[in-house]
């Protein structure tokens, strides 16, 4: 670890701290339908959209109506994406928008991808630049990046209303929240952000792929048509093009993570410079961090918003510290070899990392992208040291609540707040209260349903996969690292993260279908009990603070909240982690690795 590395991590956090409050206060105004400086421009667009779709913007919805509207919208958009993928070869404007003439996407892969982008996961079992037309990237995938992010934000706002409203049967209007989140928050930022990325070197065009002559032709040996090894000389390189910057912006801001290119944010077109790298990391956390401040504003308890922010920040820091430390260590298998690369990169594990980002920014990016449910990568997590690779996995296993996905991070964290308040109430023998609302059996039952569904899906699918030869044949490593690859895949899918231990070949019927189910279940079967809790909280009275109520804006609350999250995560997943990355770490120390 270097002081240069820590300085960059500190700069990142200071910038996040400075941007969270204005972002959060702005979002509170947007969702409370208060005046903003964008109203003259976007107000008419909003009204036109409601008129065209027949939405009554003043109608309020019960939690069940809100939930069903969200499901209908998600189902319709999933099917739209599936259709676009399957039909991309015959859709109009093929010369402009499918210049490489990519055929329709195979059904299993198309469904997996549709489920993936609908749920804000952006798990990619395909190579984008060899599979998707420009039209599919824009109409099927980039639109979903906006919609799924806006859905997550709407759900979080519904939960906040559940806390802040008194004796109300409703949580707002899903269609209005969806529209306002897209128009007022996501679109304006993305327009500016995409231009900033273009200024750094990100591409934005509809050109066919370029061909370049390489400086040094390479001899490549690969299986020929008859299956026997054949050596060919590669003297040209295909350079993929496309409308990348516009997708890159929402990919990061919406914590979606699905790359326009297979190498994702390690590709120089997606993430050209250290400045673009900093912007990309900041944009992942911008909305989730801001929503903590929105929570404080809308509930009338700014201190509570900051207490939740602090809990997230503590967990983020623990992750980045561990990951940076693990990656900065020399590989024990190379004992005695000088692994120093340069004065600014003093050794450590550089496999799978970009030289221009180095270890500190790779560890920071990996931590940020898995704290939030983004899943974009600027380095290959599969190449991390065992404990370094465990950090992204543990971050997701916490439930994607360390800032988390846009919206889903906050509502997941608020479920943990309810569990924490309940435990605190048990400790002192009083009825638990949360911001003046009594937490009762129904709230705790549904919160625990939310908490338990998550490991059930991950560990269930992982357990079946380690017994299936078809699933095991996709692994690139055996032993504990192979288990980590499977565990990471289902953790990432269920947590709606989308990053991968890239060693696994997941484009198979088994993984495409089961990961698709895991993504849908991880998103919707968890969001629904959360909405039920929100709906129930909204109906309650708000009691004035009493001496026995547990203050949720104190340091003690933050400590207890972090403790509950760590204990729930550790107790649930520690046995699986022991057989995966922890065992791999211990074996590596004694010189054992697995091919």
């Amino acid at each position: 670890m270097t002081s240069n590395g820590w300085l960059q991590i500190a700069v990142f956090f200071v910038l996040l701290l400075l941007s969270a409050k204005p972002m959060g206060l702005y979002m509170a105004r947007v969702y409370e339908r208060k005046k903003t400086w964008l109203d003259p421009l976007l107000g008419p667009v909003e009204r036109l959209l409601y008129r065209l779709t027949g939405v009554d913007a003043d109608a309020e919805m019960r939690w069940t109506e809100y939930g069903v509207a969200m499901l209908i919208f998600s189902c319709a958009t999933l099917l739209l994406t599936y259709a676009v993928e399957r039909l991309q070869a015959v859709l109009p404007f093929g010369k402009l928008l499918n210049p490489q003439h990519w055929p329709g996407v195979e059904p299993y892969l198309a469904w997996n991808t549709a489920a993936s982008f609908t749920t804000n996961t952006n798990w990619q079992a395909y190579v984008p630049e060899q599979t998707m037309s420009y039209l599919t990237q824009m109409v099927g995938l980039a639109t979903h990046n906006f919609w799924s992010a806006a859905v997550g934000m709407a759900l979080a706002i519904a939960f906040i209303r559940g806390i802040s409203r008194r004796e109300s049967k409703t949580l707002g209007n899903f269609w209005v929240d969806l529209t306002r989140g897209t128009l007022w928050v996501l679109l304006p930022i993305c327009i500016v952000y995409a231009l900033a990325l273009v200024s750094q070197g990100a591409i934005q065009n509809f050109k066919p792929y370029d061909t370049a002559t390489v400086i040094e032709p390479q001899q490549v040996t690969a299986p020929g048509p008859d299956g026997k090894p054949a050596t060919t000389t590669v003297s040209t390189q295909t350079i993929a093009q496309g409308p990348l910057a516009s997708q890159e912006a929402i990919k990061m801001l919406g914590t979606n993570g699905g790359g326009f290119m297979n190498a994702n944010s390690a590709h120089p077109f997606e993430n050209p410079t250290p400045l673009s790298n900093l912007l990309e990391m900041l944009s992942i956390f911008l909305i989730p961090a801001g929503l903590c401040i929105t929570l404080g504003r809308m509930t009338g308890s700014p201190g509570h918003g900051w207490a939740v922010f602090a809990a997230m920040a503590v967990l983020w820091f623990a992750g980045v510290l561990t990951c940076y430390w693990a990656e900065a260590q020399p590989n024990p298998l190379l004992h005695g070899v000088n692994q120093q690369v340069s004065m600014t990169s003093p050794g450590g594990n550089m496999e799978g990392k970009e030289m221009r980002f180095g270890i500190a920014n790779s560890a920071l990016f990996a931590t940020v992208t898995t704290d939030a449910s983004c899943g974009a990568v600027n380095s290959m997590h599969d190449s991390f040291m065992p404990l370094g690779g465990m950090v992204p996995m543990v971050n997701i296993m916490m439930g994607e609540i360390i800032f988390g996905g846009v919206g889903s991070g906050l509502y997941g964290m608020l479920i943990m707040v309810i569990v924490t308040v309940f435990i605190a109430g048990l400790m002192v023998g009083r009825t638990p209260e949360y911001l003046g609302k009594k937490i009762q059996a129904y709230d705790v039952q549904l919160s625990m349903l939310y908490v338990l569904i998550f490991p059930l899906i991950i560990l269930g699918f992982t357990a079946v996969s380690v017994l299936l030869p078809a699933a095991l044949s996709s692994l690139s490593n055996h032993g504990p690292h192979g288990l980590s690859q499977i565990l990471y895949a289902y953790t990432s899918a269920t947590g709606n993260n989308g990053s991968a231990f890239a060693g696994i070949s997941a484009n198979t019927h088994w993984y495409n279908s089961t990961l698709g189910v895991a993504m849908l279940a991880g998103r919707f079967l968890m969001a629904i009990p959360m909405l039920a809790v929100a709906g129930n909280l909204a109906t309650k009275k708000i009691a004035p603070p009493s001496a026995g109520a547990f203050p949720v804006n104190s340091t003690l609350f933050t400590v207890l909240l972090v403790g509950v999250i760590v204990i729930v995560g550790a107790l649930t997943f520690f046995p699986a982690l022991s057989l995966g990355p922890i065992l791999e770490h211990l074996l590596l120390r004694v010189g054992t690795s697995f091919s």
Binding site: T64, C75, V90, G104, P107, W111, Y442, A532
Partner: protein, 40 residues
């Protein structure tokens, strides 16, 4: 152009609809849990 695999498409469409129908039932299942369980 890739062959059109009609039956596979139908299965995935049915599976998608099936999932969301179950999810809607789940909404009302969660709502029905509320009846009279708040003794805390």
């Amino acid at each position: 152009m890739q062959e059109f695999r009609f039956m596979t498409d139908v299965i995935f469409l049915a599976a998608s609809f099936g999932f969301f129908i179950v999810a809607v039932l789940y909404v009302y299942g969660c709502d029905s849990l509320k009846g009279g369980s708040d003794h805390a």
